[in-house]
Symmetry: D2
Subunit: 325 residues, 4 copies
């Protein structure tokens, strides 16, 4: 394998707070170590469509605290085709890019895995997603910020819930993972959380009913993980039917959960993993995601990172149960 | 009219940030001037159901920065009946309450007006609503906080809008008034605002199309004032039909707009009008809302305050138009 | 006077949140009306040193929510000399700048006044200062944001003050004006404010002692307006001497008061006055500051704007006194 | 050992955000498991002076999001004497308190250790300090909030630093530990951090000079860990002497770093360790601090927790160095 001289960096998939801090870290650490850095715009689409620019430290100046991504992002359909990936590879070669740093979530790293295998190129992933559903890293870039954003929103909703003595079902992001819902419920002092990891035999709503709602006229907040079928609207409707006396409301937080200035945690995580990506390249690593586990930088093979069974700490369910008595 | 010795204070209608600061101000200024203060819980319902407690300075300690209302609030149906109001009056007499300070919006002050006329009691209103739709005061308690909350939410949404190059329709509160929508649009640097005050001949959407959307691939944010028929979903659907290439999204901010810690403006407004309510009572005023106009305390007769034609500064439409080129 | 074609915009003096929103508004409204806009860097120094660039709408894109000023700012000593001003004028001519929009405080507008008179050029001022000490406008760009920043800091300090039952003297900005100190004291529920406007016969500290401190072991917060001689340290020392049993602490908020994302109020004020500056130029106005009084755009002659006797509402002192019982 | 029936909970030492969430968790989890809970006011002083009240779930309702501590806190001198501790023990017995949960930092847990050994009582510690200097837990309650508070303050200061092109030395808390300084420097994109863990041969200031300051006219931010001798003022003075052309400023953040609403991280950490304290008592654990290491609850013997050599990740120094090029 020839020595790597030029590194391309991109963001891909849903935007997450801290992606800019990660772009900055990759760029600065890369330049510090003597690499050329090229910014690729609009994710894999930009690689296919040749939207690539030389990056200096100036390009990433003053962005550590900005939400979103200055490189733009997209979910590329064309990259899912062999023709698209061939175009992407051709452009990579044209620009002399020897290695690719992809900042994104599950889908983006799956794309990186296929691309790396197909063309035998060096791809490094950074875990950039608010959902925290990447295996092998304790936390993903964006998760902590979104968790705090949700918490602040629910703090506001609680003011109204308590003043009007209402029951609120608040729907939050998470794709198929309950990290955001369960942890924000604990952080907000919510009465219950409805999450995909805990929908076994027991009807979660029934448990909530028995426990939470019997406090009669008091207000109550239930955090619901987004779900195509059983979101906040579904549960609100069921409670309204069974308990017609209650004033039941729904709040779907939606898109505002993604944006905003990153927290210290996400800026530091992005900075550390960004520096870690350059170190990994220098050590000859390839096709791994840079994670932080037990406060140490780890290299997670793509096939592990995208596993769908990231362990969920069931004890958090007990914590919420005991504290919402 | 006998000298007033005991004043009851309540919050009514939708909760608004700063209501607690107003309760505190009425209580402390009242006690400072030698009155007895009684807290009435759950608005007019609490007056009807006798949910009344003696208040000392301790009751309002440490609440100036809290959203919601420690007195709870409600929209009372029973108070709309003569029987309900009679019960309310009887409880007032039972507790020796000589004057009532009602913190609330249009409906609450309309209730106060009817009650005051019917039983010849002293009612003082404080403008407590996030919608800013009370006539005779430059601003209402809660409006400034909600304006900033909306702005912060849209700042977040913009991160995603720009990163993904999407068109967002963001629906905000305001009842029949466009204050929140128009001013938040200016504050956020939004491309357009759709407000009830400007739905004359011109189709607002068409104007937005011509002006905002022709910037092709760029992101775009349109603030839409809530409306039973023509909310954000309606406009998003129309744009999707006419411009199928655009990635159009909707965010309905909903309940989180009401809560949260009040801004300095709302805490000061609540403090000044709360002190003003006690001054007004001492001066023999009755059945007026305490407002602030041109930075001076004013007494606005209830019949004026609840007028539906609070002037909207059309120049703000020009400001937004010129700045979103 | 020839028709104005090209407008230069600069920020000058201490930075204030909202200055970027003002630069954006002047640039966009100017371009919308057909003017050329030139950005002048580092205030008057940049005019002297020829740091001038053409501005398009792109230059001011995405800056409405940023603190500080993208044009940088400085306090120019050279501009205080006739030679410096001559150089500034020569550069203005060289770049074809017909009118100057200066965003700044007292000193900056005084400079604009002298310059305008000396060379008979059109200067328009925008009130950009956190101190709110410009006459003729209800509020200055930056004041509302700084007021809220102070409030949030004192909210934090109160947590410690109450937990440890301490007396805190918190020093805030304001130059010779007590607007920030008095209003933040009301907004924070502080026990007292020490301001320049109220240091007549009465010893303010004595009043505070009698009133605030006799509540024995409770915590207490006093906001002190910055002052070369009698700042927070001075008062803390005096209290420590007279009341050795109290745990007295000082917090000088300092530079962090200036920065941060502007509030909705400041962004809207900056947007309105920025548009107003272009309107004023088109109407042939010159050598005025654009203010907002009673919610209307007003033109304030420089000589009025820089008057040192901006009226201070003494009733605010009563409000604080009554609410801190 | 007799079965434990009644648990006393207190906060001690400097207040930290999340202490209220910890009090709530101990109280609710304790009641959930059938214990009686008693709140002890003002730390060990309250135990000595018999300031003890029965706690129900109501006492801790609505406090999860509040900074400071509703139980007040203090640093007790009397508890450092055998007589003081005897009084404390006598009051414990008088109230039938079988176990003590102490939420506090190094000094408070040292006190708990001595007390536990002296009287053979069950003491459980929760790590409550903003400094993160307790061994055996990845993070302490309050640390994450303070880190974010510092970051937000420095974000503001940077606005001014960049606008005026100044060099700022910002002094932050940390006692003898550089966690806050180093991590906030990374999170803020500061140019350098001066911390106690890195004052070996190299003169840190010299390194900063060579690296940071040679960027001539640019602004620069250096985070300095508090220190009796070599704080921000000391370094600012030295730089002023050597580089008289630079505009060097100092900001000492001070007391505001302690307060404020806790972040999600701190609320969750407090909730988990609070529940963990009750679990530990039920398992017969005593004289341990409840920590979270590698996302698992751990029991750390007091003698370990108060060790002064909590490992500091030197790689963070490299991260900052590479990113501030």
């Amino acid at each position: 394998m020839a020595r790597i001289k030029t590194i391309g960096v991109m963001t891909s998939g849903g935007d997450a707070p801290g992606m800019n801090a990660a772009i900055r870290a990759v760029t600065r650490a890369g330049i510090c170590k003597g690499f050329n850095i090229k910014g690729i715009y609009r994710g894999y689409d930009g690689l296919i469509n040749d939207e690539i620019r030389d990056f200096t430290t100036e390009n990433v100046s003053g962005i550590i605290m900005l939400g979103g991504t200055i490189l733009k992002t997209a979910r590329s359909k064309e990259f899912q085709t062999p023709e698209g990936r061939q175009k992407a590879y051709d452009n990579m070669m044209k620009h002399g890019i020897d290695a690719l740093v992809v900042i994104g979530g599950n889908g983006s790293l799956t794309g990186a895995k296929i691309f790396a295998e197909e063309f035998d190129v060096c791809c490094i992933g950074l875990p950039g997603t608010v959902d925290n559903d990447l295996y092998g890293t304790d936390s993903t870039i964006g998760y902590n910020t979104t968790l705090n954003t949700i918490m602040e929103c629910v703090d506001r909703i609680r003011d109204t819930a308590q003043s009007h003595e209402r029951i609120f079902f608040v729907e939050v992001m998470g794709r198929d993972a309950g990290f955001l819902a369960q942890n924000s419920a604990i952080a907000c002092g919510a009465e219950a959380a409805i999450i995909p990891e805990d929908s076994t035999d027991v009807d979660q709503l029934a448990r909530f009913m028995e426990r939470g709602i019997r406090k009669s006229k008091k207000s109550c907040i239930v955090i619901v993980s987004e779900s195509p079928k059983c979101g906040a609207l579904y549960y609100a409707e069921r409670v309204r039917k069974e308990f017609p006396d209650y004033d039941v409301r729904v709040s779907i937080l939606g898109h505002l959960q993604r944006g905003g200035r990153p927290t210290a945690h996400d800026r530091i995580l992005a900075s550390r993993t960004g520096v870690g990506a350059i170190d990994a390249i220098m050590q000859g690593q390839r096709n791994v995601m840079i994670g932080v586990r037990n406060n140490e930088i780890v290299y997670v093979p793509f096939s592990d990172a995208i596993r769908s069974d990231k362990p969920f700490d069931k004890k958090l369910i007990t914590v919420l149960d005991e504290l919402s008595i």
